[in-house]
């Protein structure tokens, strides 16, 4: 098996399933983490990820298909997605793509799911559609606060990794988001994002 990516959380290998290309994601033991804590986190996330990744399909969000799950080994075998990470696209394309990303995130929130790790490296653009991956930190939640945490993280990533195109990308994201959740809810979440930001260290409060 070929190692595709040594991610922060899991090792990702290229594998196969019934003759088709597949991705094997294994949450290996982390030696630096206390073993009790480590086991708890890895197991919990593997289960959550496989559940939610399948659940969101029913709302029309494109995600990889789960083929096989091994809870004890904390591994998930899933569909291989052929496409490009949004993070690695050119700036114009990312800017444009943010509208679609916003729409997808909106659909998730409307259906009571937060992704928990909305970075540009968790969206793959294929020839046909935008696919969302990595649901390790996802959660079922209707709380507006949690939804705002999702948005804030995405904004932070734009502000750091894609600083040159922050404004346009963020605007596009919000347009897409608003399209899915409605203007009223979108405004509410934007306000909450500002509240979270103001809680940050040395935010302009004095």
């Amino acid at each position: 098996m070929k190692l595709v990516k040594k991610g922060a959380e899991a090792d990702v290998y290229l594998s196969s399933w019934n003759g088709k290309k597949a991705i094997l994601k294994i949450r290996k033991e982390k030696t630096y983490r206390n073993s009790v804590l480590d086991k708890r986190i890895r197991k919990q996330r593997t289960i959550k990820e496989s559940e939610i990744i399948s659940q969101v399909k029913s709302f029309g969000v494109s995600t990889p298909l789960i083929y096989f799950l091994d809870v004890n080994k904390c591994s998930i075998l899933m569909q291989y997605i052929d496409g490009k990470l949004v993070r690695d696209m050119n700036e114009k394309a990312i800017e444009k793509c943010c509208f679609e990303i916003g729409k997808v995130v909106g659909v998730l929130h409307k259906n009571g799911i937060m992704h928990g790790d909305l970075t540009t490296s968790n969206f793959i653009l294929t020839k046909k559609q935008l696919v969302l991956i990595d649901f390790g930190l996802a959660n079922r939640t209707e709380k507006p606060d949690d939804h705002a945490v999702d948005l804030r993280l995405f904004k932070e990533i734009l502000n750091s990794a894609h600083a040159n195109i922050l404004k346009k990308s963020w605007d596009n994201f919000l347009k897409g988001y608003s399209k899915s959740v409605g203007e009223k809810y979108c405004k509410k979440i934007i306000k909450l994002v500002a509240v979270i930001e103001s809680r940050g260290r040395y935010a302009t409060v004095v």
Partner: protein, 327 residues
Amino acid sequence: MLCLGIESTAHTFSCAVIEKKQKRGKILSDIRRIYKPPEGQGIHPREASRHHIENSSSILSECLDESKIKINDLDMIAYAGGPGLGPCLRVGAVVARSLSSYYKIPIYPVNHAIGHLDLGKLLTGAKNPLVLLVSGGHTMLLAFVSGRWRVFGETLDITLGQLLDQFGRSLGFASPCGRKIEELATKSSKYISLPYTVKGNDVSFSGLLSATKNISSQGFDSACFSLQETAFAMIAEATERALSFTNKKELMIVGGVAANKRLSSMLKDVCRRQSSKFFVVPLNYAGDCGSQIAWTGLLESQVKKGASMKDTFVKQSWRLDTVDIDY
């Protein structure tokens, strides 16, 4: 170039002299004194600033004596303009302004956090690192992108230093409590389950603080052990996420909590997994010191003239990701 750096953002008052030749900096002296609040209490800004006022002149003369220079030899003075506690910041600024105006030496207000980063790079030799800044004032993951230090992850509420201090104080320890907690933690290996909150590259410690206070009745040792294991694992995971996202091949850790051995051993492991090089600031310069201010001042002086007196501000809330860096 000879620069005097004055640090007074929180509990430390420090003066340092650095000599810069081309790209190299040499610390000639770095004298500090730390305000110690009574056991079980935090920094009282007024008391801390009083401590700074009372100690400022003796620290300054000690600093100059040790570096074997006279005030007139100085080419510039840098002071910490923020972020920090207002009353404390003002002491450093007043000392800097007085020297500057009396001896006609150019003056530079410097961002304290950026000082940590610049001094870290000078002392470790890291070239293009992802930086983990962990102290009483900061818990941030940073990388330098197009003219600014950008935040790739940070705490959404209190910092790692605050978490350790506030928990330590609830047990009646004297601030800063990091060392005491580290010591107690080594005496236990009983892990009590605590909330683990990682949100993407961000972390949140406030819930962990309350939960740890609640388990402290089950023994201080195991509470300290469980707190460290949980909090540091959160930091390690956020760091690993940011490393993986940015593809940086270097990790540098700076700030007061960098002195913790358990944290740095975890981060070393993270670096091994992500095949990145690991740099940690020498213990002596991990915490707040005048050198960090002097060195950033020297770097700034390459592209900027000294500030005029009316622009020698102090700013309590001065986020480092709002500072443009041209050097």
